[in-house]
Amino acid sequence: MKRLIATLLTCMVGAAISAGPALADQMADIKKKGVLVVGVKTDYPPWGTRDASGAIVGMEPEMAADVAKRLGVKLELVPVVSSNRMQFLQQGQIDLMIATMSDTPERRKVVGIVDPVYYASGVAILANKKAGIKNAADLKGKPVCALQGAFYNNDLQSKYTGRDLVAFKGVTEAQQALLDGRCVGFVYDDVVLVWQKAQESKWGDFDVVMLNEWAPVPWGLAVKIEELNGPWGKFMADVTADWLKSGTLLALEKKWVGSNTPWLVDASAKAKK
């Protein structure tokens, strides 16, 4: 038993050493392998999801495919979840992560988030047209549906509505409440609201109104932190800049999300200048 434990420990230490930073140039490695391994989400439509055949599809898998095409290598998609995506990148299990990750200073210490960022989600309200809502100030005294624990709830309640929010645990419940007329609008991520409105006819009497009182949260794609300033990180920075400039992201968003969000329209226009 003791010997077994000793052997296991030796293996683990040995593995830890060999898993350390060893690659000098990841980009050359990817080309040598002939495969680009990208971590994407499988539970976040339309950015990363599975179809019934099991294939991973969405806006981010298409972005990954474009990177592979530019490198002239095959693409391998690895499903990641929020709890393991950064670890997969650190360990070298994936070369690139495009997984709906918000860009935060804490995360920038762990993984190499590439600038410019490729996407951002702002705060918006899916509001009944009859309510005539144009901005957050118009919500005063009105019942508003929201999700429990969203970062803007406190502000929304104390600065704008001035009354308790109609808060729910899940998106579907909140939407049902909105359809049932229990609130004038549902406050949530603009990108998801835009997508859902485009998907279903039942939102015909509703508009997605941006609430610019809250700054959009950028989404970053990431490489290993040691690679950020190396050839691989620089290559991805160029690719992202080109996606914005050439309108590739706008086209992809149009295809998957259904219509373009203000942040991306703005970022693409700025990149063109």
């Binding site: 038993m1 830890a16 055949s53 099991g54």
Partner: protein, 275 residues
Amino acid sequence: MTAGSVPAPLLTPRWLATAALLCCAALAAGEAWAQLQTGGTRPGVLATLWKWTPLVLFGPPREFGGFALNIAVSFLAMAIGTLAGLVLGLGLVSNFAPVRRLSWLVTQFFRNSPWLVLLFFVMLLTPFQLRVAGIVIPLPGWLKATVGLSLPIMANVAEIVRGAINSIPTGQWESAESLAFSRLQTLWRIILPQCVKRMIPPWMNWYAILTMATPLISIVGVNDAMTLTQDALAAEQRSELLMPMYTLLLFFFFVYCYPIARWTIHLERRYAVRN
């Protein structure tokens, strides 16, 4: 119980018929409700379930996943856990005090730790590949998860082994000793063969528990039936599918585990009579 008592049938037909009827009624009600909600514009619940069933059962094409992976993980974790548990269980009855104490410590540790915490430990502590003498051995997530699940199985099998050995009357040891059998010989040739029968029912019980615990591996990012069910639910974005989808998953596990449970009870009764 008398030797003449009839063993319980493996699957009671009346019981199964009732269950099937209830399932169908629930599905039909769900279907009607969904049609009412959507005005009949979307594919029905049954059609949607049918669409996703192959993926949930067998995983994505050219990949090992889905319910098949749950079963494979349960087999492998049981095999590893049983072998390791046998060694650990013999350690628990060792005459050599340090081995006995160490075995006791390991057993208690793994018996009393939450399975999910153990899973996270194994997932985070081990790398995704090993480099041994220049050869790269990949350690896929499902393999790491299997090892993680085999640890509590090991500890519980060890306890089963210890209990079975202790349940053999001491007279057996004494007679073996008088016949000049060594301790090892006594254990292998006399005690353990008698233990097997007693160990099988609790061992099968642990197998069923392990199988039902395999959806835990979805939390650490393995493509098992639970992960794929959640992916399917995310892709569909329809709240009325929540219950039917999870019911389908439950049904797969039930169909697999229920016969094992019945068989365990059957064996328990049979061996109880003979002993």
